[in-house]
C-alpha cells in the first residue's frame, strides 16, 4: 500500500512537471553517488556552506537570463553588467575608505542601492534596444556585453581593482546565525521576488503570454515595449547583485572575471526547464538546476584523480542529454515500446 501511494505521488510529480522531476532525480542520484563514494568529504556542514556561498554569484545571473528567456529573448550581457557594477562599486568603496582602513556604516547599503541603480540602467538600455530599436535580443545583448566590458576595461585600464577594505568582504562572507551564508540570502531573496512577480502579479502572466505568442500578446493590447524594458531591467538588477557578490567573494574586481558564466547560466536556465523559445519555465527548476551544477562541480573536485576540465564535458553532456529527453517526451516517442508517432512538422 505504501509503495502504491509513493508511486502515484512520483507519477503525479512527473506528469506535472517533467523537467523538475528529472532535475530532482539527478540531484538524488548524484547525492547518493557522493554518499557511497566520498561520504566523509562531501557531507560536511562546511562543504555545504561553501557551496551555498559560491553559487549565488552565477545563480543570480541565471535568474536574470531566465526572465528574459521567458519572453523568448535572452540576456548575454549579464556578466558584462556584473563586472561593470562590481568595478564601479569597488572604486567607490576605495574612494570612501576611512583612514583606519574601514568603511563608514552607510557605505555598504549605499553601494548596494547604487549597484541596483546601475544594473537597472544597463538593463533598461538592453530593453530599449530590444523593444524600441527592434534588435534581436541575442544580438542586442551581445553588443551591450561587449560595450559594458569595454567600459570596464577603459575604467580600470584592464587591471584588477583590489586592496579593498576588508569590511565589505567579511560582511558579505559572514554567516547569519553562524549557519546561513549571507550570499545565499541575496539569492533566495531575489528568487522569491521573481517568483512573486511571475506567479502573483499580472506582470508575470503578461510575461508568459508574450513568450507564448508575441502576436497574440500584441493584439490583446499588451504594451509589449514597456513589458520588455521592465524584464531586461529586472535582469540587469539580478546581474548587478551577482556582481556585488562576486566582488565580495574575490575581494577584487576586474573586467574579465567570470567570462565563463554567460554560457554556464544559459545552460542552467535551459536545464531548469525554461523553453528557449519562451513561454514556459519555472523558477524552482532554475534554482534546482543551479544547485545541481554546483553539487556536480564540488563533488567532482572530491576526486583528485579526475581532471577538473571534465566538468565542462559533463555540463555539455548533461545539457544535450536533457534536450534529447525533452525531445523524446515532447514527441511521445517511447524507446522500448516501438510506438513512434512523429508528425510531419516535427523535423522542422
Amino acid at each position: 500500500m505504501q509503495v502504491n501511494t509513493n508511486a502515484s505521488w512520483i507519477g503525479r510529480l512527473y506528469a506535472k512537471d517533467k523537467h523538475l522531476f528529472r532535475i530532482i532525480l539527478l540531484i538524488i542520484l548524484w547525492s547518493a553517488f557522493m554518499a557511497i563514494t566520498r561520504f566523509q568529504k562531501f557531507y560536511t556542514l562546511i562543504n555545504f556552506q561553501t557551496m551555498a556561498s559560491q553559487f549565488p554569484e552565477f545563480g543570480l545571473m541565471a535568474l536574470g537570463i531566465m526572465v528574459c528567456m521567458l519572453t523568448g529573448g535572452i540576456d548575454l550581457s549579464v556578466v558584462g553588467v556584473a563586472n561593470l557594477t562590481s568595478i564601479l562599486m569597488a572604486l567607490l568603496m576605495k574612494r570612501l575608505e576611512l583612514a583606519d582602513g574601514g568603511l563608514a556604516f552607510y557605505v555598504i547599503p549605499l553601494s548596494f542601492v547604487l549597484a541596483v541603480g546601475i544594473g537597472a540602467a544597463a538593463g533598461a538600455f538592453n530593453g530599449l534596444l530590444v523593444s524600441k530599436v527592434h534588435i534581436p535580443p541575442i544580438l542586442a545583448t551581445l553588443g551591450t556585453s561587449e560595450l559594458f566590458t569595454g567600459i570596464s576595461i577603459v575604467i580600470t585600464n584592464g587591471k584588477a581593482v583590489s586592496k579593498l577594505a576588508r569590511v565589505y568582504a567579511t560582511t558579505i562572507n559572514s554567516k547569519l546565525f553562524g549557519l546561513v551564508p549571507v550570499q545565499l540570502l541575496f539569492f533566495g531573496g531575489m528568487a522569491l521576488v521573481i517568483w512573486f512577480f511571475l506567479m502573483r502579479t499580472t506582470y508575470g502572466t503578461k510575461l508568459y503570454m508574450l513568450g507564448t505568442s508575441a502576436t497574440a500578446a500584441k493584439f490583446s493590447g499588451l504594451n509589449i515595449d514597456r513589458l520588455l524594458i521592465k524584464t531586461y531591467t529586472l535582469s540587469g538588477v539580478c546581474a548587478a547583485l551577482g556582481g556585488m557578490i562576486m566582488l565580495a567573494n574575490y575581494n577584487s574586481a576586474r573586467a574579465d572575471y567570470g567570462t565563463v558564466y554567460t554560457l554556464q547560466c544559459v545552460l542552467i536556465v535551459v536545464l531548469g526547464g525554461v523553453n528557449p523559445i519562451g513561454g514556459s519555465g519555472r523558477i524552482s527548476g532554475v534554482v534546482l538546476a543551479t544547485i545541481l551544477l554546483k553539487m556536480l562541480e564540488t563533488g567532482l573536485n572530491r576526486f583528485p584523480k579526475i581532471s577538473s576540465y571534465y566538468i565542462s564535458l559533463i555540463w555539455g553532456g548533461v545539457l544535450l542529454l536533457v534536450m534529447v529527453l525533452n525531445y523524446f517526451s515532447d514527441n511521445d516517442i517511447h524507446l522500448f515500446r516501438h510506438k513512434r508517432s512523429i508528425s510531419i512538422d516535427s523535423g522542422v
Binding site: I135, P136, L139, L142, V270, P276, L319, G347
Partner: protein, 342 residues
C-alpha cells in the same frame, strides 16, 4: 544609371562599404599608414582565420540557426591533428593535415548536425552544449597543453609566403601567408554552393520558412545535417590555418572568438532570423570588425578602447539595419491593410 543607384541604396552592402571607406580614409588621414603595402597585407592576413570562420557562421545564420561551437570545434580538431602528427613524427607536407582537418571537422560537425537537423533541437542551445563538450574533451580527455613545436610540414606552410610587401618609408615588411589561398578556395566553394546548387537554395529556403521549404520538397533534416557537417569542415580548416600561421598550438587561444565573428556577419547585412544575406556583405562586415580590432592603434586610440568601439559598432550597425527592416515591414503591412480595407 539612376536605377543602379537606387538598387545600390537599398542594399546593406553599400552602407557598410561606405562606412569601411570612411574608416579607411580616417585612419589614412590620421596616421598616413593605412594604404601602405605592409598594412594592407597585414589586414589580409588577419582576415584569413576570421574570414574562414565567417563563411561557416554566415551559412548557419542564413539557414536560420546559429553556431557558437565553432571555436571549440576548431581548437579540438587542430589540437588533435597537431598532437597525432607530432606523436607519429610526421615529416610530410600540408596535404595530410588538411585531409585530417576535413575528416575531423566533418565528424564533429555531424555531431551538431545530428542534434539540430535530425532531432530539431534549437541550434543555440545545442551548440552551447557541444562547445562545452568539445572543450571538455580537449582539455580533459586529451589533456591539452600548449605545444610549442608543430610538425615541419605545417610549419613550412605557415611560414611560407606568396610575396613580401615592403613599406617604402619605414622599411617594415609583411609576408602574405599562403593560407590566404585556402581562404579564397573556401570562399569560392561557399559561393558555388549557395548560388549554384539546389543544396544552397535549400539553405536559404529553410532560413526563410522551414515549413514552406519542407512543403516545397526540401529535406529540412538532411539539409541542416550536411550544412553543419560543411560548417564543421570549414571551421576545422580555419583552426588548422591558425595553428600553422602561429607555428604553435595554443589550445584555448581561439575560444571566445565566436561573438565577434557573429557580429561581423550580422553587420554585413545577414538577417539573424535567416533567409537573407550575401557573401559580399558578410566579408565586408568581417573586414570592418578586423580593421577596427587591428587598426584603432593607428589613429591613436589606445587598445583599451577596442571593446567599447566593437560594442558600439555592433549596436549602431545592427540597430540601423534593424530599424530599416522594421520600417520596411510596417510600410508593407500598412499598404496591405489599406488595400484590404479599401
Amino acid at each position: 544609371m539612376q536605377k543602379t543607384l537606387r538598387k545600390l541604396s537599398q542594399r546593406n552592402e553599400t552602407y557598410i562599404a561606405i562606412v569601411l571607406f570612411v574608416l579607411f580614409l580616417l585612419i589614412e588621414v590620421r596616421s598616413k599608414q593605412f594604404f601602405t603595402p605592409n598594412n594592407i597585407v597585414d589586414i589580409l592576413s588577419a582576415m584569413v582565420v576570421s574570414g574562414i570562420f565567417a563563411i561557416g557562421t554566415f551559412m548557419v545564420i542564413i539557414s536560420g540557426g546559429i553556431d557558437v561551437s565553432f571555436p571549440a570545434l576548431a581548437s579540438l580538431s587542430s589540437y588533435a591533428i597537431t598532437k597525432l602528427l607530432l606523436d607519429a613524427d610526421y615529416q610530410g607536407g600540408i596535404w595530410l593535415p588538411i585531409l585530417m582537418a576535413i575528416v575531423f571537422g566533418g565528424v564533429l560537425g555531424a555531431f551538431n548536425g545530428f542534434f539540430i537537423g535530425h532531432l530539431g533541437l534549437p541550434a543555440l542551445i545545442v551548440t552551447l552544449g557541444s562547445a562545452s563538450v568539445f572543450k571538455g574533451f580537449m582539455q580533459g580527455t586529451l589533456k591539452s597543453v600548449q605545444l610549442a613545436v608543430i610538425p615541419p610540414g605545417m610549419k613550412d606552410f605557415g611560414t611560407s609566403a606568396l610575396f613580401v610587401a615592403t613599406n617604402a618609408e619605414s622599411g617594415l615588411t609583411s609576408r602574405m601567408h599562403s593560407s590566404i589561398l585556402v581562404f579564397i578556395v573556401l570562399l569560392i566553394v561557399a559561393w558555388f554552393i549557395l548560388r549554384r546548387t539546389m543544396f544552397g537554395r535549400g539553405i536559404y529556403a529553410i532560413g526563410g520558412n522551414p515549413v514552406s521549404a519542407l512543403r516545397a520538397g526540401f529535406s529540412v533534416k538532411w539539409t541542416k545535417f550536411w550544412l553543419y557537417v560543411f560548417v564543421g569542415v570549414v571551421s576545422s580548416l580555419a583552426g588548422l590555418m591558425r595553428t600553422c600561421m602561429m607555428t604553435q598550438m595554443h589550445p584555448t587561444n581561439m575560444l571566445g572568438m565566436e561573438m565577434n565573428i557573429i557580429a561581423g556577419v550580422v553587420l554585413g547585412g545577414t538577417a539573424i532570423t535567416g533567409g537573407a544575406g550575401t557573401l559580399t556583405g558578410c566579408m565586408l562586415g568581417t573586414l570592418l570588425i578586423v580593421v577596427v580590432e587591428n587598426s584603432m592603434i593607428l589613429i591613436g586610440v589606445p587598445t583599451v578602447w577596442k571593446s567599447v568601439f566593437v560594442g558600439a559598432l555592433i549596436i549602431i550597425g545592427i540597430g540601423v539595419s534593424a530599424m530599416q527592416v522594421y520600417r520596411a515591414n510596417s510600410i508593407h503591412r500598412n499598404r496591405k491593410l489599406s488595400r484590404e480595407v479599401g
